[in-house]
Amino acid sequence: MAAILSVEGVSKRFATSEGPVHAIDNVSFAVRSGEFVSVIGPSGCGKSTLFNIIGGLIDGHEGRVAVNGEEVKGPHRAVGMVFQEESAFPWRTTLENVAFPLEIAGMGKAERLARARDLVKLVGLEGFENRYPSEMSGGMRQRSSLARTLAFSPQVLLMDEPFAALDEQTRLLLGDKILQIQQQLKQTTLLITHNIAEAVQLSDRVLVMTYRPGRIKRVIEIDLPRPRSSAVLGSDAFGHYVATVWKDLREEASLGLSESEAALGHRH
Protein backbone atom coordinates (compact mmCIF):
# COMPACT_ATOMS: atom_id res chain seq x y z
CA MET A 1 0.00 0.00 0.00
CA ALA A 2 1.30 3.49 -0.88
CA ALA A 3 2.60 5.84 1.82
CA ILE A 4 0.19 8.61 2.73
CA LEU A 5 2.68 10.39 4.98
CA SER A 6 6.38 10.54 4.25
CA VAL A 7 9.10 12.09 6.37
CA GLU A 8 12.44 12.31 4.57
CA GLY A 9 15.71 13.34 6.17
CA VAL A 10 14.15 15.77 8.64
CA SER A 11 16.58 17.55 10.99
CA LYS A 12 15.98 20.46 13.32
CA ARG A 13 18.29 22.62 15.41
CA PHE A 14 17.20 25.17 17.99
CA ALA A 15 19.18 28.12 19.28
CA THR A 16 18.92 28.27 23.08
CA SER A 17 20.56 30.39 25.77
CA GLU A 18 22.84 27.41 26.49
CA GLY A 19 23.90 27.10 22.85
CA PRO A 20 22.44 25.31 19.82
CA VAL A 21 20.45 22.13 20.44
CA HIS A 22 20.30 19.49 17.74
CA ALA A 23 16.77 18.23 18.43
CA ILE A 24 16.28 15.69 15.66
CA ASP A 25 18.64 14.39 13.03
CA ASN A 26 17.91 12.87 9.65
CA VAL A 27 14.58 11.29 10.60
CA SER A 28 12.95 9.34 7.79
CA PHE A 29 9.92 7.07 7.74
CA ALA A 30 6.63 6.60 5.94
CA VAL A 31 3.12 5.77 7.10
CA ARG A 32 0.78 3.80 4.85
CA SER A 33 -2.91 4.49 4.49
CA GLY A 34 -4.90 3.02 7.39
CA GLU A 35 -1.75 2.22 9.34
CA PHE A 36 -1.21 3.01 13.03
CA VAL A 37 2.37 3.98 13.74
CA SER A 38 3.84 5.07 17.05
CA VAL A 39 7.00 7.06 17.60
CA ILE A 40 8.50 6.30 20.99
CA GLY A 41 11.54 7.78 22.63
CA PRO A 42 12.91 9.09 25.91
CA SER A 43 12.06 12.56 27.20
CA GLY A 44 14.00 15.19 25.28
CA CYS A 45 14.48 13.13 22.12
CA GLY A 46 12.57 15.60 19.95
CA LYS A 47 9.25 13.71 19.67
CA SER A 48 7.15 16.86 20.08
CA THR A 49 9.42 18.74 17.68
CA LEU A 50 8.75 16.04 15.11
CA PHE A 51 5.00 16.28 15.84
CA ASN A 52 5.05 20.04 15.28
CA ILE A 53 7.08 19.74 12.08
CA ILE A 54 4.72 17.14 10.61
CA GLY A 55 1.74 19.27 11.66
CA GLY A 56 3.31 22.31 10.00
CA LEU A 57 3.44 24.32 13.23
CA ILE A 58 7.19 24.91 13.14
CA ASP A 59 9.41 25.47 10.15
CA GLY A 60 13.06 26.13 9.54
CA HIS A 61 13.92 22.43 9.41
CA GLU A 62 15.93 20.42 6.92
CA GLY A 63 14.36 17.59 4.96
CA ARG A 64 10.86 17.14 3.65
CA VAL A 65 7.46 16.14 5.04
CA ALA A 66 4.76 15.26 2.53
CA VAL A 67 1.16 14.09 2.69
CA ASN A 68 0.00 12.30 -0.43
CA GLY A 69 3.12 13.62 -2.11
CA GLU A 70 2.27 17.23 -1.31
CA GLU A 71 4.92 18.96 0.78
CA VAL A 72 3.81 20.21 4.19
CA LYS A 73 4.85 23.86 4.45
CA GLY A 74 2.47 24.93 7.21
CA PRO A 75 -0.72 23.60 8.81
CA HIS A 76 -2.14 21.20 6.28
CA ARG A 77 -5.75 20.33 5.56
CA ALA A 78 -4.90 16.63 5.42
CA VAL A 79 -3.29 16.50 8.88
CA GLY A 80 -5.39 16.63 12.05
CA MET A 81 -3.65 17.17 15.36
CA VAL A 82 -4.53 16.08 18.90
CA PHE A 83 -2.35 17.78 21.47
CA GLN A 84 -0.85 16.61 24.73
CA GLU A 85 -2.22 19.56 26.71
CA GLU A 86 -5.94 19.97 27.23
CA SER A 87 -7.15 21.85 24.21
CA ALA A 88 -10.94 21.83 24.37
CA PHE A 89 -12.22 25.41 24.16
CA PRO A 90 -13.53 26.16 27.68
CA TRP A 91 -16.23 28.55 26.39
CA ARG A 92 -17.82 25.92 24.14
CA THR A 93 -19.88 22.86 25.00
CA THR A 94 -18.77 19.43 23.84
CA LEU A 95 -21.03 19.64 20.79
CA GLU A 96 -19.84 23.14 19.93
CA ASN A 97 -16.22 22.07 20.38
CA VAL A 98 -16.63 19.10 18.08
CA ALA A 99 -18.51 21.18 15.51
CA PHE A 100 -15.81 23.88 15.51
CA PRO A 101 -13.86 22.79 12.39
CA LEU A 102 -17.14 22.30 10.52
CA GLU A 103 -18.23 25.81 11.53
CA ILE A 104 -14.91 27.17 10.23
CA ALA A 105 -15.44 25.25 7.00
CA GLY A 106 -18.78 27.06 6.59
CA MET A 107 -21.04 24.03 7.00
CA GLY A 108 -24.69 24.82 7.84
CA LYS A 109 -25.64 24.69 11.52
CA ALA A 110 -28.05 21.73 11.34
CA GLU A 111 -25.66 19.67 9.24
CA ARG A 112 -22.60 20.38 11.37
CA LEU A 113 -24.43 19.66 14.63
CA ALA A 114 -25.69 16.36 13.22
CA ARG A 115 -22.17 15.41 12.17
CA ALA A 116 -20.81 16.53 15.53
CA ARG A 117 -23.42 14.38 17.32
CA ASP A 118 -22.23 11.32 15.36
CA LEU A 119 -18.64 11.97 16.41
CA VAL A 120 -19.59 12.63 20.03
CA LYS A 121 -21.26 9.23 19.96
CA LEU A 122 -18.23 7.66 18.31
CA VAL A 123 -15.93 8.77 21.13
CA GLY A 124 -18.43 7.66 23.77
CA LEU A 125 -19.55 11.08 25.01
CA GLU A 126 -23.23 10.67 24.22
CA GLY A 127 -25.25 12.46 26.90
CA PHE A 128 -22.48 15.02 27.48
CA GLU A 129 -23.15 17.11 24.37
CA ASN A 130 -24.14 20.19 26.35
CA ARG A 131 -21.47 19.96 29.02
CA TYR A 132 -18.64 22.45 29.17
CA PRO A 133 -15.05 21.15 29.50
CA SER A 134 -14.94 22.31 33.12
CA GLU A 135 -17.82 19.93 33.84
CA MET A 136 -16.03 16.86 32.48
CA SER A 137 -13.05 14.67 33.45
CA GLY A 138 -9.64 14.91 31.78
CA GLY A 139 -10.31 11.74 29.77
CA MET A 140 -13.64 13.10 28.52
CA ARG A 141 -12.04 16.39 27.54
CA GLN A 142 -9.37 14.56 25.54
CA ARG A 143 -12.05 12.48 23.79
CA SER A 144 -13.87 15.70 22.98
CA SER A 145 -10.66 17.08 21.44
CA LEU A 146 -10.19 13.84 19.50
CA ALA A 147 -13.73 14.06 18.14
CA ARG A 148 -13.13 17.68 17.14
CA THR A 149 -10.02 16.67 15.17
CA LEU A 150 -11.90 13.76 13.55
CA ALA A 151 -14.62 16.22 12.49
CA PHE A 152 -11.94 17.83 10.35
CA SER A 153 -11.80 14.46 8.44
CA PRO A 154 -8.01 14.42 8.34
CA GLN A 155 -6.23 11.92 6.15
CA VAL A 156 -3.57 11.59 8.83
CA LEU A 157 -4.39 11.81 12.53
CA LEU A 158 -1.40 13.06 14.48
CA MET A 159 -1.50 12.58 18.26
CA ASP A 160 1.10 13.90 20.70
CA GLU A 161 0.87 11.91 23.95
CA PRO A 162 -2.86 12.61 24.21
CA PHE A 163 -3.23 10.47 27.34
CA ALA A 164 -0.09 11.65 29.14
CA ALA A 165 -2.00 13.53 31.83
CA LEU A 166 -4.44 10.68 32.53
CA ASP A 167 -4.28 7.87 35.07
CA GLU A 168 -3.27 4.38 33.92
CA GLN A 169 -6.78 2.86 33.98
CA THR A 170 -8.33 5.72 32.01
CA ARG A 171 -5.40 5.54 29.63
CA LEU A 172 -6.06 1.82 28.97
CA LEU A 173 -9.77 2.39 28.41
CA LEU A 174 -9.10 5.30 26.07
CA GLY A 175 -6.62 3.09 24.23
CA ASP A 176 -9.51 0.67 23.65
CA LYS A 177 -11.60 3.56 22.35
CA ILE A 178 -8.82 4.64 19.97
CA LEU A 179 -8.52 1.06 18.68
CA GLN A 180 -12.27 0.90 18.13
CA ILE A 181 -12.29 4.22 16.26
CA GLN A 182 -9.28 3.26 14.20
CA GLN A 183 -10.97 -0.02 13.31
CA GLN A 184 -14.18 1.75 12.36
CA LEU A 185 -12.72 4.67 10.38
CA LYS A 186 -9.55 2.99 9.06
CA GLN A 187 -7.90 6.19 10.16
CA THR A 188 -4.21 6.59 9.36
CA THR A 189 -2.65 7.55 12.69
CA LEU A 190 0.75 8.64 13.94
CA LEU A 191 1.04 8.57 17.72
CA ILE A 192 3.88 10.25 19.59
CA THR A 193 4.32 8.64 22.99
CA HIS A 194 6.79 7.67 25.69
CA ASN A 195 4.58 4.86 26.96
CA ILE A 196 5.80 1.46 25.72
CA ALA A 197 2.61 -0.50 26.55
CA GLU A 198 0.46 2.10 24.81
CA ALA A 199 2.65 2.03 21.71
CA VAL A 200 2.57 -1.78 21.48
CA GLN A 201 -1.14 -2.03 22.29
CA LEU A 202 -2.19 0.39 19.56
CA SER A 203 0.35 0.16 16.77
CA ASP A 204 1.16 -1.75 13.62
CA ARG A 205 4.69 -0.42 13.84
CA VAL A 206 6.71 1.25 16.57
CA LEU A 207 9.58 3.59 15.67
CA VAL A 208 12.10 3.81 18.50
CA MET A 209 14.02 7.08 18.69
CA THR A 210 17.43 7.75 20.14
CA TYR A 211 18.09 10.37 22.80
CA ARG A 212 19.19 13.78 21.51
CA PRO A 213 19.60 14.27 18.66
CA GLY A 214 16.53 12.15 17.95
CA ARG A 215 17.10 9.59 15.21
CA ILE A 216 15.10 6.52 14.27
CA LYS A 217 17.02 3.75 16.02
CA ARG A 218 14.82 0.82 15.11
CA VAL A 219 11.46 -0.02 13.55
CA ILE A 220 9.53 -2.82 15.26
CA GLU A 221 6.59 -4.45 13.48
CA ILE A 222 3.83 -5.33 15.95
CA ASP A 223 2.24 -8.49 14.67
CA LEU A 224 -0.60 -8.78 17.18
CA PRO A 225 -4.02 -9.78 15.84
CA ARG A 226 -6.65 -7.12 15.18
CA PRO A 227 -9.22 -6.14 16.31
CA ARG A 228 -7.35 -5.51 19.54
CA SER A 229 -8.29 -4.28 22.97
CA SER A 230 -6.52 -3.80 26.27
CA ALA A 231 -7.06 -7.55 26.83
CA VAL A 232 -3.98 -8.05 24.64
CA LEU A 233 -1.86 -6.77 27.51
CA GLY A 234 -2.02 -10.20 29.16
CA SER A 235 -0.65 -12.11 26.20
CA ASP A 236 2.91 -13.48 25.96
CA ALA A 237 3.36 -11.86 22.57
CA PHE A 238 2.54 -8.46 24.04
CA GLY A 239 5.11 -8.99 26.80
CA HIS A 240 7.67 -10.00 24.19
CA TYR A 241 7.09 -6.79 22.19
CA VAL A 242 7.24 -4.62 25.29
CA ALA A 243 10.55 -6.24 26.24
CA THR A 244 11.88 -5.75 22.72
CA VAL A 245 10.99 -2.05 22.68
CA TRP A 246 12.37 -1.53 26.17
CA LYS A 247 15.64 -3.23 25.22
CA ASP A 248 16.18 -0.58 22.56
CA LEU A 249 14.79 2.27 24.61
CA ARG A 250 16.58 1.56 27.89
CA GLU A 251 20.00 2.69 26.70
CA GLU A 252 18.51 5.92 25.32
CA ALA A 253 16.42 6.61 28.42
CA SER A 254 19.52 6.07 30.62
CA LEU A 255 21.47 8.49 28.47
CA GLY A 256 18.69 11.07 28.76
CA LEU A 257 18.51 10.62 32.53
CA SER A 258 22.28 10.95 32.94
CA GLU A 259 22.37 14.11 30.84
CA SER A 260 19.48 15.75 32.65
CA GLU A 261 21.03 14.89 36.04
CA ALA A 262 24.39 16.22 34.88
CA ALA A 263 22.70 19.43 33.72
CA LEU A 264 21.06 19.78 37.14
CA GLY A 265 24.45 19.24 38.79
CA HIS A 266 26.00 22.03 36.68
CA ARG A 267 23.24 24.45 37.65
CA HIS A 268 23.85 23.87 41.36
Binding site: L57, H76, E85, S87, F89, S145
Partner: protein, 260 residues
Protein backbone atom coordinates in the same frame (compact mmCIF):
# COMPACT_ATOMS: atom_id res chain seq x y z
CA UNK B 1 -20.70 25.20 54.93
CA UNK B 2 -18.54 25.15 51.82
CA UNK B 3 -19.74 23.14 48.86
CA UNK B 4 -16.72 20.87 48.60
CA UNK B 5 -18.35 17.95 46.82
CA UNK B 6 -18.89 19.80 43.54
CA UNK B 7 -22.64 20.17 44.11
CA UNK B 8 -24.22 23.58 43.50
CA UNK B 9 -24.58 25.57 46.71
CA UNK B 10 -28.16 25.82 47.95
CA UNK B 11 -30.04 29.09 48.55
CA UNK B 12 -28.86 29.45 52.15
CA UNK B 13 -25.25 28.90 51.13
CA UNK B 14 -25.56 31.48 48.35
CA UNK B 15 -27.38 34.02 50.51
CA UNK B 16 -25.08 33.75 53.53
CA UNK B 17 -22.20 35.96 52.23
CA UNK B 18 -24.65 38.61 50.96
CA UNK B 19 -26.53 38.56 54.26
CA UNK B 20 -23.28 38.83 56.22
CA UNK B 21 -22.29 41.90 54.17
CA UNK B 22 -25.69 43.58 54.53
CA UNK B 23 -25.86 42.90 58.26
CA UNK B 24 -22.35 44.31 58.76
CA UNK B 25 -23.34 47.49 56.91
CA UNK B 26 -26.57 47.73 58.92
CA UNK B 27 -24.63 47.29 62.17
CA UNK B 28 -22.18 50.03 61.16
CA UNK B 29 -25.08 52.34 60.24
CA UNK B 30 -26.71 51.66 63.63
CA UNK B 31 -23.44 52.38 65.40
CA UNK B 32 -23.04 55.61 63.41
CA UNK B 33 -26.63 56.59 64.25
CA UNK B 34 -26.07 55.91 67.95
CA UNK B 35 -22.79 57.86 68.02
CA UNK B 36 -24.52 60.84 66.32
CA UNK B 37 -27.53 60.73 68.63
CA UNK B 38 -25.34 60.56 71.71
CA UNK B 39 -23.60 63.69 70.48
CA UNK B 40 -20.14 62.20 70.01
CA UNK B 41 -20.08 63.46 66.40
CA UNK B 42 -21.25 66.92 65.44
CA UNK B 43 -24.07 66.68 62.86
CA UNK B 44 -22.37 69.51 60.93
CA UNK B 45 -19.37 67.21 60.47
CA UNK B 46 -21.17 63.97 59.71
CA UNK B 47 -24.97 63.75 59.64
CA UNK B 48 -26.74 60.71 61.09
CA UNK B 49 -27.74 57.90 58.70
CA UNK B 50 -31.44 58.60 59.31
CA UNK B 51 -30.98 62.25 58.26
CA UNK B 52 -29.17 61.08 55.13
CA UNK B 53 -32.05 58.70 54.33
CA UNK B 54 -34.58 61.51 54.93
CA UNK B 55 -32.74 63.72 52.40
CA UNK B 56 -33.51 61.42 49.45
CA UNK B 57 -37.03 62.66 48.65
CA UNK B 58 -35.70 66.21 48.50
CA UNK B 59 -32.77 65.08 46.37
CA UNK B 60 -35.18 63.59 43.84
CA UNK B 61 -37.79 66.37 43.88
CA UNK B 62 -35.78 69.55 44.44
CA UNK B 63 -32.36 68.59 43.09
CA UNK B 64 -33.44 66.50 40.09
CA UNK B 65 -31.33 63.51 41.20
CA UNK B 66 -32.81 61.27 38.47
CA UNK B 67 -32.01 63.76 35.70
CA UNK B 68 -28.51 64.33 37.05
CA UNK B 69 -28.00 60.58 37.32
CA UNK B 70 -28.98 60.17 33.66
CA UNK B 71 -26.50 62.86 32.65
CA UNK B 72 -23.66 61.27 34.65
CA UNK B 73 -24.74 57.84 33.44
CA UNK B 74 -24.66 58.98 29.79
CA UNK B 75 -21.24 60.62 30.12
CA UNK B 76 -19.90 57.54 31.89
CA UNK B 77 -21.18 55.15 29.22
CA UNK B 78 -19.85 57.31 26.44
CA UNK B 79 -16.42 57.56 28.07
CA UNK B 80 -16.26 53.86 28.94
CA UNK B 81 -17.57 52.91 25.48
CA UNK B 82 -14.80 54.94 23.86
CA UNK B 83 -12.25 53.36 26.21
CA UNK B 84 -13.47 49.89 25.16
CA UNK B 85 -13.53 50.76 21.45
CA UNK B 86 -9.99 52.16 21.53
CA UNK B 87 -8.57 49.97 24.32
CA UNK B 88 -9.24 46.56 22.76
CA UNK B 89 -7.42 47.32 19.46
CA UNK B 90 -4.57 48.97 21.39
CA UNK B 91 -4.33 45.99 23.74
CA UNK B 92 -4.28 43.67 20.75
CA UNK B 93 -1.54 45.79 19.14
CA UNK B 94 0.65 45.62 22.27
CA UNK B 95 0.06 41.85 22.38
CA UNK B 96 0.70 41.31 18.68
CA UNK B 97 3.77 43.54 18.33
CA UNK B 98 6.10 42.23 21.01
CA UNK B 99 8.48 45.19 20.75
CA UNK B 100 5.62 47.67 21.16
CA UNK B 101 4.34 45.63 24.12
CA UNK B 102 7.73 45.69 25.83
CA UNK B 103 8.23 49.36 25.04
CA UNK B 104 4.83 50.78 26.00
CA UNK B 105 3.18 48.49 28.55
CA UNK B 106 4.91 50.22 31.46
CA UNK B 107 3.91 53.61 30.02
CA UNK B 108 0.29 52.57 29.92
CA UNK B 109 0.66 51.25 33.48
CA UNK B 110 2.06 54.63 34.47
CA UNK B 111 -0.89 56.39 32.87
CA UNK B 112 -3.23 54.12 34.85
CA UNK B 113 -1.54 55.20 38.08
CA UNK B 114 -1.42 58.92 37.23
CA UNK B 115 -3.96 61.24 38.90
CA UNK B 116 -5.34 62.47 35.57
CA UNK B 117 -8.03 64.48 37.27
CA UNK B 118 -5.37 67.05 38.23
CA UNK B 119 -4.87 67.80 34.53
CA UNK B 120 -8.38 69.27 34.26
CA UNK B 121 -7.18 72.84 33.56
CA UNK B 122 -5.38 71.58 30.46
CA UNK B 123 -8.52 69.81 29.25
CA UNK B 124 -10.57 72.95 29.93
CA UNK B 125 -8.20 74.87 27.67
CA UNK B 126 -8.37 72.17 25.00
CA UNK B 127 -12.11 71.43 25.01
CA UNK B 128 -13.74 74.26 26.94
CA UNK B 129 -16.09 74.00 29.93
CA UNK B 130 -18.43 71.44 28.45
CA UNK B 131 -19.24 67.73 28.25
CA UNK B 132 -16.31 67.11 25.89
CA UNK B 133 -13.85 67.85 28.71
CA UNK B 134 -15.63 65.44 31.05
CA UNK B 135 -15.80 62.68 28.42
CA UNK B 136 -12.20 63.17 27.24
CA UNK B 137 -10.79 62.99 30.77
CA UNK B 138 -12.96 60.03 31.76
CA UNK B 139 -12.12 58.20 28.55
CA UNK B 140 -8.41 58.63 29.30
CA UNK B 141 -8.87 57.40 32.86
CA UNK B 142 -10.64 54.21 31.70
CA UNK B 143 -8.39 53.54 28.70
CA UNK B 144 -5.26 52.14 30.44
CA UNK B 145 -7.25 49.49 32.30
CA UNK B 146 -8.91 48.43 29.05
CA UNK B 147 -5.58 48.26 27.17
CA UNK B 148 -3.75 46.39 29.92
CA UNK B 149 -6.55 43.90 30.59
CA UNK B 150 -6.95 43.17 26.87
CA UNK B 151 -3.21 42.58 26.52
CA UNK B 152 -3.17 40.46 29.68
CA UNK B 153 -6.02 38.29 28.37
CA UNK B 154 -4.47 37.83 24.94
CA UNK B 155 -0.99 37.14 26.39
CA UNK B 156 -2.50 34.58 28.76
CA UNK B 157 -4.25 32.57 26.04
CA UNK B 158 -2.94 29.01 26.19
CA UNK B 159 -0.57 28.37 23.28
CA UNK B 160 -2.24 25.02 22.63
CA UNK B 161 -5.58 26.74 21.84
CA UNK B 162 -3.83 28.89 19.25
CA UNK B 163 -2.14 25.76 17.86
CA UNK B 164 -5.53 24.07 17.55
CA UNK B 165 -6.71 27.01 15.44
CA UNK B 166 -3.56 26.95 13.34
CA UNK B 167 -3.90 23.19 12.82
CA UNK B 168 -7.37 23.85 11.40
CA UNK B 169 -5.84 26.37 9.01
CA UNK B 170 -7.44 29.47 10.58
CA UNK B 171 -6.37 32.80 9.08
CA UNK B 172 -5.19 35.47 11.58
CA UNK B 173 -8.51 37.38 11.60
CA UNK B 174 -10.54 34.19 12.22
CA UNK B 175 -8.02 33.02 14.80
CA UNK B 176 -8.50 36.30 16.66
CA UNK B 177 -12.30 36.24 16.42
CA UNK B 178 -12.84 32.56 17.19
CA UNK B 179 -10.05 31.77 19.64
CA UNK B 180 -8.01 34.68 20.97
CA UNK B 181 -10.95 36.97 21.70
CA UNK B 182 -13.14 34.38 23.48
CA UNK B 183 -10.11 33.07 25.42
CA UNK B 184 -9.23 36.61 26.53
CA UNK B 185 -12.85 37.52 27.27
CA UNK B 186 -12.75 37.07 31.09
CA UNK B 187 -9.83 39.48 31.31
CA UNK B 188 -11.39 41.87 28.77
CA UNK B 189 -14.64 41.82 30.77
CA UNK B 190 -12.64 42.80 33.86
CA UNK B 191 -11.18 45.63 31.81
CA UNK B 192 -14.67 46.79 30.79
CA UNK B 193 -15.77 46.71 34.42
CA UNK B 194 -12.72 48.69 35.54
CA UNK B 195 -13.09 51.18 32.67
CA UNK B 196 -16.72 51.74 33.61
CA UNK B 197 -15.97 52.30 37.30
CA UNK B 198 -12.94 54.51 36.63
CA UNK B 199 -14.94 56.52 34.08
CA UNK B 200 -17.75 56.99 36.61
CA UNK B 201 -15.32 58.15 39.31
CA UNK B 202 -13.72 60.54 36.86
CA UNK B 203 -17.01 61.88 35.46
CA UNK B 204 -18.27 62.68 38.96
CA UNK B 205 -14.89 64.15 39.91
CA UNK B 206 -14.68 66.44 36.88
CA UNK B 207 -18.36 67.46 37.18
CA UNK B 208 -17.50 68.42 40.76
CA UNK B 209 -14.37 70.34 39.77
CA UNK B 210 -15.76 72.29 36.84
CA UNK B 211 -19.31 72.60 38.19
CA UNK B 212 -20.97 71.22 35.14
CA UNK B 213 -24.17 69.21 35.64
CA UNK B 214 -24.58 65.64 36.86
CA UNK B 215 -24.04 64.15 40.28
CA UNK B 216 -20.64 65.78 40.77
CA UNK B 217 -22.06 69.28 40.47
CA UNK B 218 -24.89 68.31 42.84
CA UNK B 219 -22.42 67.16 45.51
CA UNK B 220 -20.44 70.38 45.10
CA UNK B 221 -23.61 72.52 45.25
CA UNK B 222 -24.87 70.78 48.39
CA UNK B 223 -21.48 71.14 50.03
CA UNK B 224 -21.39 74.85 49.18
CA UNK B 225 -24.83 75.24 50.79
CA UNK B 226 -23.70 73.18 53.79
CA UNK B 227 -26.55 70.71 53.24
CA UNK B 228 -24.50 67.85 54.56
CA UNK B 229 -27.26 65.22 54.79
CA UNK B 230 -28.10 65.78 51.12
CA UNK B 231 -24.40 65.81 50.19
CA UNK B 232 -23.81 62.50 51.97
CA UNK B 233 -26.98 61.17 50.34
CA UNK B 234 -25.67 62.12 46.89
CA UNK B 235 -22.28 60.53 47.67
CA UNK B 236 -24.08 57.39 48.85
CA UNK B 237 -26.05 57.41 45.61
CA UNK B 238 -22.80 57.56 43.58
CA UNK B 239 -21.37 54.67 45.59
CA UNK B 240 -24.53 52.61 45.05
CA UNK B 241 -24.44 53.43 41.32
CA UNK B 242 -20.84 52.23 41.18
CA UNK B 243 -21.74 49.00 42.98
CA UNK B 244 -24.70 48.52 40.63
CA UNK B 245 -22.43 48.99 37.58
CA UNK B 246 -19.98 46.45 38.95
CA UNK B 247 -22.66 43.92 39.83
CA UNK B 248 -24.51 44.32 36.51
CA UNK B 249 -21.38 43.88 34.37
CA UNK B 250 -20.43 40.78 36.40
CA UNK B 251 -23.92 39.32 35.87
CA UNK B 252 -23.89 40.11 32.17
CA UNK B 253 -20.51 38.43 31.81
CA UNK B 254 -21.72 35.37 33.72
CA UNK B 255 -24.82 35.23 31.55
CA UNK B 256 -22.79 35.34 28.35
CA UNK B 257 -20.14 32.90 29.54
CA UNK B 258 -21.45 30.58 32.23
CA UNK B 259 -18.34 28.35 32.12
CA UNK B 260 -15.35 30.62 31.61
Amino acid sequence: MAATDGASPNFAQRAAPILAGVLTLAALALLWQAVCQLGYINKFVAPAPLDIARSFPSLFIDENLAGRFLQTFGETFLSAGLAVAVGIPLGWFLHHKKLAGLAFESWVGGLAAAPLVLAYPLFLVLFGRNTATIVAMSFLSGLPAMVLKTKEGLDGTKRVLVNVGLSFGLKPATLFRKILLPAAMPSIANGVRLALILALINVVGVEFLINLGGLGELIDGLAQRWELAGMFGAILFVILTSVAFFWTTARVEKWFRPHG
